[in-house]
Amino acid sequence: MANLLWLQGGACSGNTMSFLNAEEPSACDLVTDFGINVLWHPSLGLELGDNVKQILLDCISGKIQLDIFVFEGTVVNAPNGTGNWNRFCGRPMKDWVKELSDAAQFVVAIGDCATWGGIPATAPNPSESVGLQFLKRAPGGSLGTSFKSKAGLPVINIPGCPAHPDWVTQILVAVASGRAGDLTLDEFQRPKTFFTSFTQTGCTRNMHFAYKVSATAFGQRKGCLFYDLGCRGPMTHSPCNRILWNRQSSKTRAGMPCLGCTEPEFPFFDLAPGTVFKTQTVMGVPKDMPAGVDKTGYVKLTAAAKAAAPAWAEKDIFVV
């Protein structure tokens, strides 16, 4: 039996929605098959008011063993570092986060807000939001770089806006069933099992990427979305085309560019007008190259790929 507590800070509840839609395993499977005891969750907990507060206090004092502390949403520090814009059970949420994190065996940050600040931390960041151990790419965040939970791990970051349901439940099961030691984390503390490959890995448009055939509108059945519509698939670490959404599809499969939501800079370019769904170029050359590719190589590859492109690459191959 592993006790799990889930709290929300500056959040839209999107990750809770995602979690409740999980299928492999489902949120119910966590309880019935994997021995997770949900102490409290904002959408599932039966307790209200002082009864919730008592659970939190008991976790901090050790009366209840807190095995997994899950946090969704940013840690809000406004106004002026007090955290009073986000109060919960009589005190700033940031104070609960600190004490519960210190008491927990494992701390799991779910979604971009909890991992690195996400949309709320976008400039000018009026809520003074940070993630648990990062603010965008900068280490530190609310708990500081040296934080380790009782089990000796830093915060386990599961980013995404929202995170895919199965990334959440599969990591929770690994932790609850004593397999946390098998998890290797990347430099941003993301489980490598999900965040080493790219969104592009498994994308059905890879042939069009290779032959440099561009989609020029959303939903088109031919073409790759990198060249014109700002797809960040080649430089975003996510398994979105390996572990499909709703077990059916992904953004890029449906003709919608990847927005790079698992990376610390999301949303990119501070959402300045003209930067969303548009490949940013300097004199016609993309500003952000596919990971590991330089400009000269890219130009050469384009010339070769265009010259080699077969006729079928210019036609719809996904015919209804």
Partner: protein
């Protein structure tokens, strides 16, 4: 567009460019905003205003600049159809031409 129509349009463009049509090759868009402004100008044209497209697009019938940029390497160029697939242009083009909406 049928193959005959495409050939006819390509002929027309070839003649216009060979005849010295002055197009706006200056003002290559550096930012997406500038790129978008040119697209907006193109969208405001009557659908059959071929000359308008060439002028606003800044078409030339040879590669551009020191780096010899040309349609052939442009993202919007469909090699087999010899076609510019940028919706606002949507015209047949030769691989050695160029316009200021070029992107790679």
């Amino acid at each position: 567009m049928s193959a005959a129509d495409t050939n006819e349009t390509l002929d027309k463009i070839t003649k216009l460019l060979a005849g010295g049509l002055k197009t706006r090759t200056e003002g290559i868009p550096e930012t997406e905003k500038e790129f978008g402004e040119i697209l907006n100008e193109l969208r405001a044209l009557a659908p059959d205003d071929l000359e308008g497209k060439l002028v606003i697009g800044g078409f030339i019938n040879h590669p551009y600049g020191e780096e010899q940029y040309r349609c052939m390497e442009c993202m919007y160029y469909l090699v087999h159809r010899k076609w510019c697939d940028l919706p606002e242009l949507a015209v047949p083009v030769e691989p050695d031409w160029w316009c200021r909406l070029w992107r790679i």
